[in-house]
Symmetry: C2
Subunit: 450 residues, 2 copies
Amino acid sequence: MISNSLRDVYKKKTHNSRKLYNDSVKIFPGGISHNIRFFRPYPFFVNKATNKHLIDVDGNRYVDYWMGHWALILGHSPNVVVKKLDRQIRQGTLYGTANDISIKLGETIKKSIPISELLRFCTTGSEATMYAIRIARAVTKKRIICKTIGGWHGFNTDLMQSVNYPFEIDEGVGMTGREGDFVESIPFNDLDRSIRLLESVKDDLACIIIEPLLGGGGCIPADINFLKGLEEYCKRNDILFILDEIVTGFRLNFGSVSSLYHLNPDIITLGKIVGGGLPIGVVCGKKEIMKVANPVENRNKEQLCYIGGGTFSSNPLTMTAGYATLDYISKNRQTVYNKINKLGDIARNDLKKLFSDYGLKTEVTGLGSLFLTHFLSNKVNEIKNANDVALSDNDTLTKYHFSLMTKYGIFFLPHKMGAISIVHDVKDIQSLINATEKIIESDILTIMKN
Amino acid sequence: MISNSLRDVYKKKTHNSRKLYNDSVKIFPGGISHNIRFFRPYPFFVNKATNKHLIDVDGNRYVDYWMGHWALILGHSPNVVVKKLDRQIRQGTLYGTANDISIKLGETIKKSIPISELLRFCTTGSEATMYAIRIARAVTKKRIICKTIGGWHGFNTDLMQSVNYPFEIDEGVGMTGREGDFVESIPFNDLDRSIRLLESVKDDLACIIIEPLLGGGGCIPADINFLKGLEEYCKRNDILFILDEIVTGFRLNFGSVSSLYHLNPDIITLGKIVGGGLPIGVVCGKKEIMKVANPVENRNKEQLCYIGGGTFSSNPLTMTAGYATLDYISKNRQTVYNKINKLGDIARNDLKKLFSDYGLKTEVTGLGSLFLTHFLSNKVNEIKNANDVALSDNDTLTKYHFSLMTKYGIFFLPHKMGAISIVHDVKDIQSLINATEKIIESDILTIMKN
């Protein structure tokens, strides 16, 4: 638990947020519009964000490592995006029709991701993964979807299985109880056990969908051999291999992890970064696969796989922000990825060393510009999968993130991994390390130390 | 079929669009990001929209009645929205946190819709309806969802049943074939038959979800007695009554159809207008119901109904555009609804009279500012439901909409209802009537006349 004195510091600094939260619970269940955005005693309320900062309604400034659910690789409201949006808001936010700017963003994605021969824009990541597995079922004429335990692919009904600990229990109430009949969950980074589980369902297995780095599940990179092994298994058995790159797409390199790892997935889902801070989801895939969703060629229900779309798909505002973002990164890709990946390395290494110097058992996981600290516990000695994350010392992680936020103005959404953007610099990482050291030295983490 | 000469006129006017479409099919399945946006020979490509006009890449201007899937009640890029967006794009597009502007939009919706005691923002209408039925299942502990034949609630897997003609066949390939086990489809506007069908499943019936006006299904208002009858049936049998007002919310009055019709639904879904032209979905409902989605009070999986949310939920850009829109309408509500509803009446009445004067058997359906012409056929004598719409003379409707677009610069998405916004005026409706008369008098509709 967070100490009362620290909580008091927070309350004193966030007087206006507290008032707004009291209003907010009368409007929204739990006072929020996304479960993970709540933290105790109440979340602060933002009314402005620029570059690397969130500024709350009490005027507190936070160096932001949450970065819009890790979407804002150029930081908040970067000039290159604002400039283009400035024009576009005057020229239409929602045409509801085919438009030229969609082609520019589509082409950019297509050029940078080899398997992206055809793609469909939709509006959210949850939609993108739902459509990806629908396409997989359509193409393979099989029904079962394989996902990893702790894998997070959004709130769609089809993939709401084995997301949160305890993983074997249904993801909350309100499901029919039968959704799981067509989902097989495999242990992350354990190829042998995964293959054994798949063997029993392979005749009806449509696809494997997997994040190259467990995002919501705890910032754990997939072993390359795990990914390669699953991909090979797919190719051998007429199963589609889907990389869910909503988090990793354009985050680690200009394009997809598949290029870095020499993978050859059939479908890739994108979101976050490619929308430039506006709502987006994308399903990309090989032509032979994606053509099942072509309504011009497949004119009846027995042929066509219906996927959205939606009212807001390829809206010119998102397309503009997405294209401005990718265009900027494309022209500066060496600088961008060198910088943020290097800062990620520094953050992980320096945090590890610091915790180790103080005799604290931690792991700092991640890849490129993504990182998260895990406090190990008597239940967990290493972090290999989402189960380990769930069983590690999350109370200490809460205290750590809450202290960073309250005393040092450094914001991680409690328990969630951080994302470095190009507006962060080495001084920010140094400040994070310094703040962490002070937190270790104060009494906040003493329970753990003892 | 559209005549070759008319098609040639279109091709001549849309040279740049044709080139773009040729590029587009290399990027997107069918060249589009939403199935209904395709029409033959190819859709024009928009690169600007202001007030009532779409302007395509060849410089053609169209008076737009599609209005961003009927979302843009103030027209394209209205000043009141642009002014606020202008500021907001510089202050963050995606905080990923609680924020003050969400409260303003939330409060406005809450005040204007009586049953909206608590609400959750998400990003699309498809998400809103998916979460609404999840909540219904959670609260009732029952599994079956009732929808109407031809009812359209977005692309989510749960509700992709009986959407398109032939309604009894699965909605395309890529489903497990078992989704329908938990969906009961009832005939629109036929209360007796509907109740008989519901009787057989009522013990496991979680909710009825219904549009007060069939939108995608053909612009057909539900009879008030049909809605009231279903609602009463729900109240008697512990079934939740859900009004899907993604199209009708804030379209016919400032708030919900439930106020106009004295209905008392348990949940209402919103989208489109309340986002002010940016991506949004909303689930609103009574407190006793919505509280199942409160993650602060329900801390474990056996209690909590998980609903999104999503990365983009309550993002400050959408919240700003939505609030600016509702705030403007609120202050001018008499003027706004009087104007657009009256223009809708004029459009429906004058079109009806015109077609009748020429001896053409049509119906012009709709409500308030929404309207659609149906050409009757030897299969269909009146328009009561989506089946009638599917069996009416859609070839003639295609020709009519295509002629309006090509020869008179008046845009309806082919086959889809039109939406009048406050930037339309009586002269626009008169131009529509005049153009329609010329089309009738030309040879374009002669096939039907004979």
